[in-house]
């Protein structure tokens, strides 16, 4: 079986985020990046299948600049077999559909039996790429997986509103997006890191994938107009005084607003 895992490199959870000069994205210089946490669970799910089924190949795919190599090496260190890196400035500024088109082109070349992707990315929060990719490929998909089983068909437990769970069954080839906490993500071991050095990273351009002019900022249907931190203090009132005074004022406010 061949499994493709889509991973995105996002700012590290501890990174300090500032809006860039143009006010359209964050300032990316000198901050740390990591594999999108949702994608880490996707990778772990793939690696667990590989542990169970001999002969399973796990291919990780990512789009982005040179720094993405580090995340791909981490994935290889954790146990993925090889990587595809779409490294091309022409892919910059792609919206979810552009990203999905690139991944679809890679998937067509790879013909995986199963595709895993994180439910959404930590930076964009759109949760669109996975379903779009499945649609472009014309394969079934399901989202927000919290558990996963393969007994012939694929069985996925997925998270719904209000803590409810739904169980769905899919035939391969199919795509599953994963929720965080679905599994305990393994760490790269020293042996894994050393072995990763010998594993191939296949670098591709947008033109290699036959997508010149179809992806990137110019082709994007969604553009970020403005990114900003909401101004502080508006609509908030800070109550001051002793605890008793503050409680008194707060109760007064609640009554005044008719909330009780």
């Amino acid at each position: 079986m061949k499994i493709m895992v889509c991973i995105k490199q996002v700012p590290h959870q501890d990174a300090r985020l500032d809006v860039n000069g143009a006010g359209t994205w964050i300032q990316e210089e000198n901050i740390k990046f990591e594999i999108n946490p949702y994608d880490q669970n996707a990778l772990e799910a793939a690696l667990q299948l590989k542990d169970k089924e001999a002969g399973t190949e796990v291919v990780v795919v990512s789009i982005g600049p040179e720094r993405v190599t580090q995340s791909l090496r981490t994935a290889l260190g954790m146990g993925a077999d090889r990587a595809v890196h779409v490294k091309d400035g022409a892919a910059d500024g792609s919206d979810s559909l552009g990203t999905a088109k690139i991944l679809a082109a890679v998937a067509k070349a790879e013909s995986p039996d199963l595709i895993f992707a994180g439910f959404m990315s930590d930076d964009g929060n759109l949760a669109a790429t996975g379903p779009m990719l499945a649609t472009l490929l014309g394969i079934p998909h399901t989202t927000t997986a919290v558990s996963f089983q393969k007994n012939g068909a694929i069985q996925v437990e997925r998270e719904l509103e209000g803590g409810a769970l739904e169980v769905v069954e899919l035939n391969t080839p199919c795509l599953v997006t994963t929720q965080t906490g679905m599994n305990q993500v393994r760490y790269a071991s020293l042996k894994g890191i050393m072995a990763a050095k010998k594993k191939p990273i296949d670098v591709k351009t947008v033109a290699d994938l036959g997508l010149a002019g179809q992806v990137g900022a110019d082709a994007a249907k969604i553009k970020i107009e403005k990114l900003y931190t909401p101004p502080k203090g508006q609509g908030a009132e800070i109550l001051s005084g002793s605890v008793d005074e503050v409680v008194g004022k707060l109760v007064g406010k609640i009554k005044e607003l008719g909330l009780l």
């Binding site: 190599t69 090496r73 760490y187 071991s189 020293l190 042996k191 890191i193 050393m194 050095k197």
Partner: protein, 387 residues
């Protein structure tokens, strides 16, 4: 000159950081309070292959150098594990270096793979009550029994990890003649046979998860094949490990300084007095900035020394300089962290008092700052020796 970050180094640091993230400051404070060896942490580090990082691949290790080992231990220290985490690993990562360099094939096959897999704890028995820095005065004896084996009698102190260890790297006198001095010393990888030795932990200021012990040897038998290298060359063999040992300890010290500084900075940003964060005051900010620049400078020296050692170049000056700078920078950072947190810095719940106690250790171990300066004075500057 190329300062491009090494991809492997970043991957190693990142992987170790992730393991350490599962062991909180509270975990380490609890181990410290209970004087309990961090077994769970040790097992997890073994699982990742980190214990064997400097052991050759043919003996089950990772086959990497001192630079990589320094990165591992630095990450462990700066996770908040400080010396409780580092000392738990240090002797497995590096203690067996004399065996790697000088041990017989039989000795290597018997012990290195087990150490790399985390199945073998190793203690280090060199120092004696009457022989600290002056190793020539070692009086613990390993007498030939006439059948190719030895019998050990004597008294060692500061034997780290003696309680947990199955074996001890033991320096003992095989030639009792008074003029034999260094040449009368031999190194053994001996079983720490509880029927022939008594182990007493030494109550101490900090790093209480890993005990340092007094060990009394009473006619402890040691088989002949457990001799490391040749008889009478024990001290020379240990000497080879002095520089890398200083490099690793320096990396550990810097990690403690870094975690102390991180805590101080976050406190200085959050704590408001007179209507502004205390970090806005230069009396708070400048010492923290100074701690940072000192730690950065020391780290560059650690990496230089490690780079030289791993290439087989002389690294005495760099290793001693790194050790000196790191110990001072770590101590300064930990002290300023306590000062920044004020009363809270003295309270155990904020952990900086633990870092402070452990940072103090690096100024005396593995060798005092004064002896480090003696090395620089005599060996680098060519000044006459005073002792």
């Amino acid at each position: 000159m190329d300062f491009t970050p090494d991809e492997d180094h970043e991957a190693i640091a990142d992987a170790v950081r992730r393991v350490c993230a599962d062991f909180s400051d509270d975990y380490w404070a609890q181990c410290e309070r209970d004087h309990r060896f961090p077994t769970e942490f040790y097992a997890r580090m073994a699982e990742g292959g980190w214990l064997g990082i400097a052991i050759p691949e043919e003996y089950g290790g990772g086959g990497r150098g001192i630079a990589e080992a320094a990165i591992v231990l630095n990450e462990v220290a700066k996770s908040g594990a400080a010396m409780n985490g580092c000392s738990a690993l240090h002797l497995t990562i590096f203690g067996l270096n004399p065996v790697v360099k000088f041990g017989s094939e039989r000795l290597k096959r018997a012990f290195l793979p087990r150490a790399a897999a985390g199945e073998l704890h190793v203690a280090f028995g060199v120092t004696e009550p009457d022989a600290g820095t002056d190793t020539s005065r070692i009086s613990t004896r390993a007498d030939a029994d006439g059948h190719g084996n030895y019998v050990v009698n004597g008294h060692k102190i500061w034997t780290t990890k003696a309680l947990e260890s199955e074996v001890v790297l033991l320096l003992a006198r095989t030639d009792p003649r008074p003029d034999a001095r260094f040449k009368g010393l031999s190194l053994f990888l001996a079983d720490l046979d509880r029927d022939h030795c008594t182990i007493r932990p030494i109550p101490k200021m900090g790093r209480n998860a890993v005990a340092s012990c007094e060990v009394f040897y009473d006619a402890m038998p040691v088989e002949g094949w457990r001799l490391v290298g040749k008889e009478g060359e024990g001290f020379t063999q240990l000497l080879h490990g002095f520089n890398p040992e200083r490099i690793l300890l320096a990396a550990e010290a810097i990690g403690i300084g870094e975690v102390a500084l991180r805590r101080a900075v976050s406190y200085a940003k959050a704590r408001e007095v007179f209507g502004r964060p205390i970090g806005a005051n230069q009396s708070i900010a400048h010492p923290l900035a100074l701690a940072h620049v000192q730690l950065r400078a020391a780290w560059q020296m650690v990496m230089l020394a490690a780079w030289r050692y791993d290439r087989g170049l002389d690294c005495g000056e760099a290793a001693n300089t790194a050790k000196y700078l790191a110990a001072e920078a770590s101590w300064f950072a930990a002290d300023r962290a306590v000062q920044t947190l004020g009363g809270m810095g003295y309270a155990s719940e904020h952990h900086v008092e633990r870092y402070f106690r452990e940072a103090r250790l690096q100024r005396i171990a593995p060798v005092s700052q004064e002896m480090t300066l003696n090395y620089v004075a005599q060996t680098v500057l060519g000044l006459p020796r005073s002792y």
